[in-house]
Symmetry: C2
Subunit: 338 residues, 2 copies
DNA sequence: CCCCTAGACTACAACGTTGTACTGCACCGC
DNA sequence: GCGGTGCAGTACAACGTTGTAGTCTAGGGG
């Protein structure tokens, strides 16, 4: 049976509240009392009961992280960074997966399963701008990603349009003219796919290159398998291109694999550029040029914003929109100059 | 302000306990009472307070998953599977990372941060057989991995020796004779590295091939970067080999990359075999032959064992050792016959 | 010498649930 | 008509903590 404040109080010969005060570093305690209590705590191996503390204080010290899937390297690395930052702030992380399914994302927001968290870091992929109203929740929340903008909550995201534009310009600057895109989402207006596609088009336009829809391949999921399939379709469809811009790294690596299966040389015949800079991108053959979205900073900002919100819960201030800087990472698959 | 049982009881005109009974599906309730209560619940949007429930019942519905790092694809995919299985069982997962550091692993076992979990799935990499005593904890726990055997808790693991032996035999059968190993741990007796190395040696011996220590490269961490570095050392050291057995996929992919940088053809000059079957292994160039350790089954068994232990906590039965089946997955980097 | 303040500590009542023990009541069999 | 049984519902006391209000003592100022 785990020891309680009661047991410690008995052993130390003080009141239960004094023990509580010692545990919580209340200042007005005589050093000798503190020592006596501490000795009793050590002897009994007392550990505070977090459920009780949480019931009484309304804080559990747990934050929720809601994301599509840990199997997607980007989210795994993001989760890693979130957990590491949470630890620094003294909170612990509960992870829920939604499989990028809109209904499940919405369900999580009102689910009792998440009720014991103090707040949520929420990274939707299925919800869209129309669902912005659903973000009106009565607990602190930080939104990630680019599915929804201008919501009632803090939002940490990156300059998707600019980053995709930079990636595309990078390919153009190295002499490419027919740049295929992998991972577009039909009819999407907002969201990573739409924003990154917009950046691509902006870059083309700026360079005076006409936009050719035949170069743009669509796929809903952003897994390696989808990138591979899209690339097969492009090639088998006889589309000619001298570069590929994959809207995320996983897609791009699937595509990279197929390019080589089909006997195309990378980067000689086709330059390849991804987006996310997952760890894996450094070790593929050829290594993958990509966009570094500042994942570590995203995690750091998201956690500290959330923790701050939880602390100030009484007097909420206006929601913040935080934009994280990106950078272009040139590697072998698309060297700086052709 | 969130509604409580009290509010619902008032609105429905019944006692608070009756509401509790409705929420908990207590059988002896008149249908009309149930309906009345349900209506009140819906109207107020009542959600049970999990801290209170947990304080009263001693169960939080949260399990902890302790692993080295989510950035390691194997653990990310494992976590994915654990969370998915936990959801099926109606529990939620809190993840803690230890960075494979022994001290942090030990700390987690007695940390109050984990105090609100009902039990732990614990996957150590830093602790060793000598630490077996530390697994004597007063909460349900399922151990994963191959650092510690014969402990006082349930253990889900795989046949490492046999799997590594199968992998090595596979290479031998395809005509390879000088098989390098990447990722060995100096002086280790138990643990993935030691067990897999033992399987390697067993297979060599069975085939009458002498063991050559020069072929075995050591590295503590199992990241892509370490695999790459080891491979560079081997090659630069002038060691001759016609196959590589990487003790996990990440290492192996790092090595695969360096092999190709150095102009060696895979599998023509060097056959390459990994271990873990992470998703990525299908899409590399060449695709990676590897061992599938049955990750999904490991997760499924671990979660259901833990949930079962939590339920039966009163009368604990003897700890179980569960061995999961593996399979050899031949791909391009090491085809079935040379 | 008395009042006031601050420090060190304590008693008590919550927080929102659920387990236990209980009260009625209707129905059954003899 | 009486005791037993099973159903429907309730009252009350926990679970372990912390916030609030309080007591008591010592010390300082007037």
């Amino acid at each position: 049976m785990a020891a309680t404040l009661h047991d410690v109080a008995n052993l130390a010969g003080v009141s239960i509240k004094t023990v509580s005060n010692v545990v919580n570093d209340y200042p007005h305690i005589r050093p000798e009392t503190r020592q006596k209590v501490q000795a009793a705590i050590d002897e009994l191996g007392y550990q505070p009961n977090l459920s009780a503390r949480s019931l009484r204080s309304g804080r559990s010290g747990v934050i929720g992280l809601v994301l599509p899937e840990l199997s997607l390297s980007y989210f795994a690395e993001l989760a890693d960074a979130v957990i590491a930052n949470a630890e620094k702030q003294g909170v612990v992380v509960l992870i829920e997966q939604t499989g990028a399914d809109r209904d499940r994302e919405i369900a999580v927001l009102s689910s009792p399963r998440m009720r014991l968290t103090d707040g949520l870091i929420f990274s939707p992929l299925g919800m869209s701008q129309d669902d912005v109203g659903l973000l009106e929740v009565d607990f602190p929340m930080v939104l990630l990603g680019e599915r929804i903008f201008g919501g009632p909550v803090d939002h940490v995201t990156m300059r998707n349009v600019e980053a995709a534009q930079a990636a595309t310009r990078f390919l153009i600057d190295s002499g490419r003219r027919r740049i295929a895109v992998i991972g577009a989402h039909e009819g999407e207006v907002v969201g990573s796919a739409a924003l990154r596609l917009r950046g691509y088009r902006d870059a083309l336009q700026a360079a005076g290159i006409p936009y050719d829809p035949a170069l743009v391949s669509h796929t809903t999921l952003w897994h390696r398998a989808n990138g591979a399939a899209s690339m097969r379709e492009l090639i088998d469809g006889g589309v000619q291109f001298d570069a590929v811009f994959g809207l995320n790294d996983a897609l791009t690596l699937g595509a990279l694999r197929v390019l080589q299966e089909k006997g195309m040389r990378v980067p000689d015949d086709v330059a390849v550029m991804g987006f996310d800079n997952i760890d894996e991108a450094q070790y593929t053959v050829p290594s993958l040029s990509t966009i570094d979205p500042g994942r570590e900073q995203i995690a750091e900002r998201a956690v500290s914003l959330l923790v701050q919100r939880i602390r100030e819960q009484a007097r909420p201030s206006a929601p913040q929109e935080v934009l994280i800087d990106f950078s272009v990472v040139p590697r072998e698959s698309a060297p700086a100059r052709a």
